[in-house]
């Protein structure tokens, strides 16, 4: 009979911070610029250039540390990690090894069984991102773009506390929420602003010692992470079962092939010769600095959910969904502050917004419509200036382009016709044109009125209040 194994997982999560400039120079971090147009002597490793720390990077790192219950290191330093690679212009990366900014934290996650578990955070350190390597198909060479070189990262190193892909994803979701709430990053796996390396080992169930672990890189989605965990668990168990040994190494996951391969080479000694960077001075985190950052911490999701429950009469499920994204929660609250009824705002978010997000593959953080416009739309419906189907049409445009619904309705002439004479004229025409339905209705078929309402709405190009149409039809018949 085969043995029972337990998978032990720790994560190294890299998060790109949402600063305007790079960690050690005044170059922009904006996306989409032409290659090497956002570079300077510092982030391209020119001789004689020197780094100076971006204060916002430190503040974000500390904020994340506080939000994940870490101890903040009061005397922190930067170290150089030495290795040669073309995307690393100095051939050393400025990082933190000996005195990282945060240590000994942890976050709560919900387990599959519905329980709660703490995933420990070993440390969080600040470091610089590398440039981008592009393979040139034509000349059999690679090309380097240093626009991303020097973009600030924090690396969040967990304890080996996770036991399944579900727990890993719950942990990542939790980190993502915290960091998004802080505004420290948008945390997008696909775009690489959040990257997770998986450290994984297996051991016989009940064993006290950990097995030999491997580190897996290049995981660009939750699905890829789940597949890589399954694949690596199986690979390690197979090795053990067949009497072979797991080698401690870094492996690259190929999600298309569904397998990983070792990244080692003879020229890659994995001996980084860390030492304190003499070009940067130590960081002393004072009580005042810490308190100022603490004061600026936002209301996190748990508190927000509790408050929503107290303040707003909306279902728990809605609260769950809305607070799952800081951006959506902000939308909700702002629209309410602007006077919209909470329940109605929630309905728009839970209904049309979620439907369109799914249909158009838009993430909550990327919703473009403003709370002002959502509040305006709700006001238009409340005032019966437009009916609900027109409102949905307008919302779709708002969702895509954040148009002002008042202006849009005006320009496109979508307002409900309130002129009773015009409505009466149309209703009379519909009655005249549909003698059979009229006869049915008069003969006691209630349902026939629905058809007539529909015909009237059609004739009015939707710009009528269906209730008013219904009433008028009944009056006239």
């Amino acid at each position: 009979m085969s043995k029972q194994y337990e998978t032990v997982i720790g994560l190294e999560v890299h998060v790109e911070l949402a600063t305007k400039t790079k960690i050690f120079c005044g170059c922009s971090t904006a996306f989409g610029a032409g290659p090497n147009t956002q570079t300077c002597p510092v982030c391209t490793g020119m001789p004689g250039s020197l780094p100076v720390l971006n204060k916002q990077v430190l503040e974000y790192a500390i904020a994340v540390g506080l939000a994940t219950n870490c101890d903040i290191t009061r005397y922190a330093k930067f170290d150089r990690k030495n290795y040669f690679y073309p995307d690393n212009p100095q051939n050393y990366q400025i990082s933190q090894l000996y005195l990282p900014i945060c240590r000994n934290g942890g976050v709560e996650i919900e387990t599959e069984e519905g329980g709660v578990k703490i995933v420990g955070i070993h440390e969080i350190h600040m470091e610089e991102d590398a440039g981008k390597l592009i393979h040139d198909e034509w000349e059999d060479c690679s090309l380097v773009d240093y626009n991303r070189s020097g973009v600030p990262l924090i690396e969040i190193v967990s304890e080996p506390d996770m036991r399944s892909a579900e727990e890993v994803i719950a942990y990542l979701e939790k980190l993502r929420l915290i960091i998004q709430y802080l505004g420290a990053s948008d945390c997008k796996l696909q775009e690489g602003s959040m990257r997770a390396d998986v450290n994984l080992s297996v051991r016989e169930a009940g064993a006290a010692e950990y097995g030999v672990r491997t580190e897996m890189k290049n995981l660009n989605s939750f699905k890829a992470i789940a597949r890589a965990i399954a694949g690596e668990t199986e690979r390690q168990i197979d090795l053990i079962e067949s009497g072979e040994k797991v080698v401690q190494e870094t492996r690259r996951w190929d999600d298309v092939k569904g397998e990983s391969y070792a990244m080692r080479s003879k020229e890659d000694a994995q001996d980084y010769r860390y030492f304190p960077d003499p070009d940067l001075v130590p960081i002393r985190v004072s009580d005042e600095m810490l308190e100022a950052i603490r004061q600026k911490q936002p209301e996190f999701r748990g508190d927000k959910m509790r408050r929503y429950k107290e303040e707003f009469d909306i279902p728990d499920y809605d609260i769950q969904i809305i607070t799952q994204s800081k951006h959506m929660a902000d939308l909700f609250e702002s629209a309410v502050v602007l006077g919209a009824e909470p329940k109605k705002v929630s309905n728009w978010l839970m209904g049309e917004t979620l439907r369109l997000m799914k249909e158009k593959e838009v993430e909550a953080e990327d919703l473009r419509f403003s709370p002002e416009n959502l509040a305006r739309l709700i006001r238009l419906v409340d005032a019966k200036a437009i009916n609900s189907s027109v409102a949905k049409e307008v919302f779709e445009v708002m969702f895509a382009e954040n148009v002002n619904p008042e202006q849009y309705v005006e320009e496109k002439g979508l307002k409900t016709v309130t002129d009773e004479g015009a409505l009466r004229k149309t209703v009379e025409e519909v009655i005249a044109a549909n003698p059979q339905s009229v006869a049915d209705y008069r003969g006691g078929k209630e349902k026939a009125i629905g058809f007539l309402v529909g015909q009237t709405m059609k004739a009015m190009k939707g710009k009528a209040d269906p209730g008013a149409v219904n009433q008028m039809l009944r009056d006239l018949l």
Binding site: K20, T21, A33, T37, L58, H135, L143, D145, P282, R284
Partner: protein, 96 residues
């Protein structure tokens, strides 16, 4: 000579430092490094158990810059020094 540098060590240091030495250079490097390490070993005469390593002589701390963009596009100048370039990027031997 107390420090005997092996061929493996010199080979390994060559990988770390990305330097390639000919046979004769290697022998000289082994000798030079061994002698220097013998000399550096003199430091072990000092008891430093209670001494903190000193990276910076002065207690300068907390030197920061504000998060403000100060640099523009200087790609053309940047690439002017590149041994090989293409499409606004540095050309390097294949890395994939």
């Amino acid at each position: 000579m107390a420090n005997i540098i092996s061929d493996e060590t010199i080979e390994y240091v060559g990988i770390l430092a990305k330097l390639e030495l000919s046979g004769q250079q290697k022998e000289q490097a082994k000798k030079d490094m061994g002698r220097m390490l013998d000399y550096i070993d003199k430091l072990s005469e000092l008891d430093t158990a209670d001494v903190e390593p000193m990276s910076h002589v002065f207690p300068v701390q907390n030197v920061f810059r504000e998060d403000v963009v100060t640099n523009g596009d200087t790609r053309e100048q940047l690439l002017a020094n590149a041994p090989e370039e293409k499409d606004g990027m540095f050309m390097v031997p294949k890395t994939f």
